[in-house]
């Protein structure tokens, strides 16, 4: 177990290093941030001064070396646009993205598991087939297009909900949160629904497939033969066994919700990390893009590690060296 965690941490460092080199190298070659930052009428001297102030006049290798040194000290460079540490700019936007991701996961789990269970237990009913057809649709609908439709219907046509932006925030434990007030929830509803759609379909399909396979197994038949009430067989015996793969997927999907928030945030002008990184890509704000990618990659690796450990804790048959006893 300790060995497993240690090996994974070493792998984490390697992946972070490769990502940073790839991204830094690539962005260095792509554009010239000075062009964007100084006013077009500026003379050569002013350009040179800006480049020097940003450290862009030094050779690429030296820049990367400085960057790596800073990274180890938790310093990912200063944003060209905001003039503040890139990491600070990113972490500032983190709560907005996390609350959106959290709400989306909550929506998809709360609706997905019951629907999937139903479709799996009664596969031949019309309503089950409708649920499954809906989930294929949910898989196929391009997220960004659904976002536009949600705005068109609920904000433009019906005028029920605000189309873009984030509601007023209140500070809890020093973190600004908007979804705990009704007004804030109004703003968060459409984007989180948009973000949840794909995950909802995934959870429905997964729960259904699991339920269909598990109800045929002996332990369910045995529990029934023992005369246990149906609610207990399904609610305790079946659900417990379905949960094992589900927890893994839900854990992993949390990370992917954070990544896909890039799209949803851009559509709904939600001021999170995702919108920030897209804006920064257009403004060639290299430190922010690099910092975002590193932060998200690190988040992912930590989530994956947690899920692996949790999986082993839930299912005693799993050993962490990758074999199933």
């Amino acid at each position: 177990m300790t060995l497993f965690v240690l090996r994974r941490l070493a792998q984490t460092l390697l992946v972070l290093f490769v990502t940073s080199a790839l991204v830094f190298g690539g962005l260095y070659l792509v554009g010239d941030p000075v062009e964007i930052l100084v006013n077009p009428q500026a003379d050569q001297e002013e350009r040179a001064r800006t480049a020097e102030a940003l450290g862009l006049d030094r050779p690429a290798v030296e820049q990367y070396g400085l960057f790596l040194k800073g990274m180890l000290a938790g310093d990912l460079g200063k944003s060209f646009v905001y003039g503040r540490p890139a990491l600070e700019v990113i972490l500032e936007r983190l709560p907005a993205t996390l609350e959106l991701a959290f709400l989306a996961m909550l929506l998809s789990v709360a609706a997905g598991i019951p629907l999937g269970l139903y479709a799996g237990l009664y596969p031949d009913r019309k309503s089950s087939k409708a649920i499954m057809a809906g989930s294929i649709l949910g898989f196929s609908l391009p997220t960004f297009w659904v976002g536009l439709l949600l705005i068109l219907v609920f904000a433009v046509q019906l005028g029920w909900l605000p189309s873009t932006g984030r509601g007023p925030t209140e500070t809890y434990f020093g973190i600004p949160i908007s979804i705990l007030s009704l007004e804030g929830l109004k703003y968060a509803l459409l984007p989180s629904l948009n973000l949840a759609l794909f995950k909802l379909s995934l959870i429905i399909r997964l729960t259904r497939a699991q339920a269909r396979e598990q109800v045929l197994l002996d332990y369910i038949r045995f529990a029934r033969a023992k005369g246990l009430p149906r609610s207990r067989v399904i609610g305790v015996h079946l659900l417990k066994n379905i949960m094992i793969p589900l927890v893994t997927v839900i854990g992993l999907e949390l990370g992917s919700v954070i990544a896909y928030a890039i799209v949803t945030e851009s559509i709904f002008a939600w001021p999170g990390m995702g919108k920030l990184v897209i804006d920064s890509m257009f403004q060639l704000d290299r430190p922010v893009v690099v910092a975002y990618l590193l932060v998200v990659v690190l988040m992912f690796i930590l989530i994956n590690l947690t899920v692996d450990i949790l999986y082993a804790a839930l299912d005693p048959r799993v050993r962490l060296d990758g074999t199933r006893a």
Partner: protein, 283 residues
């Protein structure tokens, strides 16, 4: 097999829809009322007309026009062509690359196999959009760059599938027979292992092409995908975004429907193929 496929009415419908989509994409230049990228044919006075309006040209804008007076129906036909080309091209390259790597890894075994699968595992731990974003940030924009990015995103799925299929095959007698006949490794991998790993690869392929099309559309929508000279469906939808808030829905909605029809039909076909090839679901 074909009869079983068509017995499911949903799958048959999906196949019909897919055939329609492919035909439209193939024959776009001949069936479009207008060449949407010939600026001489566009009339700015016809901009933002709602669906069904008769234009100054001699035809009716069935799906309306966009901000530059472009017929949406024609734009969608051409966009479909671009989206499908990018999706299928990247899918085929990724299938060839990933399939070959996976099968070779399974055949070689040992260190090489472990290393490849480690890389696959790590990459599949990250969502496609993040990998694509990193690559686009590094490579820049353009059709070739997008295809490279999509191939890099997808190859791992094929590699994993090909390896697990080839592991089953590699210990079978016909491989031993081929080996004892003194065939070269290249020949065994290409002519014996790869063809036998194809069925699961094709199933993964259908799903992946749908993913690739959706991903390309998403990237184009964000402005990170194809250049404006070759507008895919995603870019058409993005162009309509600014008109959406003033109620001009058609510029975004109809290209979206075309995109949905494409992805949905591929998914329906893929779904049925997978169920049919899954021995765990006894019928």
């Amino acid at each position: 097999m074909i009869r079983e496929f068509l017995r499911s009415r949903i799958a048959a419908g999906g196949l019909a829809l897919l055939a329609l989509v492919v035909l439209v994409a193939l024959f776009a230049p001949w069936i479009s009322p207008q060449n949407p990228y010939d600026l001489a044919k566009l009339d700015l006075l016809d901009a933002r007309l709602p669906p069904g309006t008769a234009g100054a040209a001699h035809f009716t804008y069935l799906l309306g026009t966009d901000g530059q007076g472009r017929d949406m129906l024609s734009a969608i036909f051409y966009g479909l062509r671009v989206s499908l080309t990018v999706g299928v091209a990247s899918g085929l390259i990724a299938l060839a690359l990933g399939g070959l790597l996976g099968v070779t890894a399974a055949y070689a075994g040992g260190r090489a196999e472990q290393l490849l699968m480690r890389v696959v595992d790590i990459q599949l731990g990250f969502p496609a959009i993040l990998v694509a974003l990193i690559l686009i940030a590094v490579l820049g924009k353009g059709v070739d760059k997008i295809i490279i990015a999509l191939v890099c995103v997808q190859w791992a799925y094929y590699a994993r599938t090909a390896r697990s299929a080839a592991i089953v095959e590699r210990n079978k007698e016909y491989i031993d027979a081929a080996r004892s006949l003194g065939f070269s490794h290249t020949r065994i991998v290409l002519r014996h292992l790869l063809p036998n790993a194809m069925p699961p690869l094709i199933v993964v392929g259908t799903v992946q092409v749908a993913h690739a099309i959706a991903l390309e559309a998403t990237l184009s929508f964000l402005g990170l995908g194809l250049p404006a000279t070759e507008p895919s469906l995603g870019l058409l939808i993005a162009n309509g975004y600014e008109y959406l808030l003033s109620g001009r829905y058609w510029i975004s909605v109809y290209p979206g429907l075309a995109l949905l029809a494409t992805i949905l039909s591929i998914n329906l076909v893929g779904d049925q193929l997978r169920d049919q090839l899954n021995p765990r679901l006894a019928r």
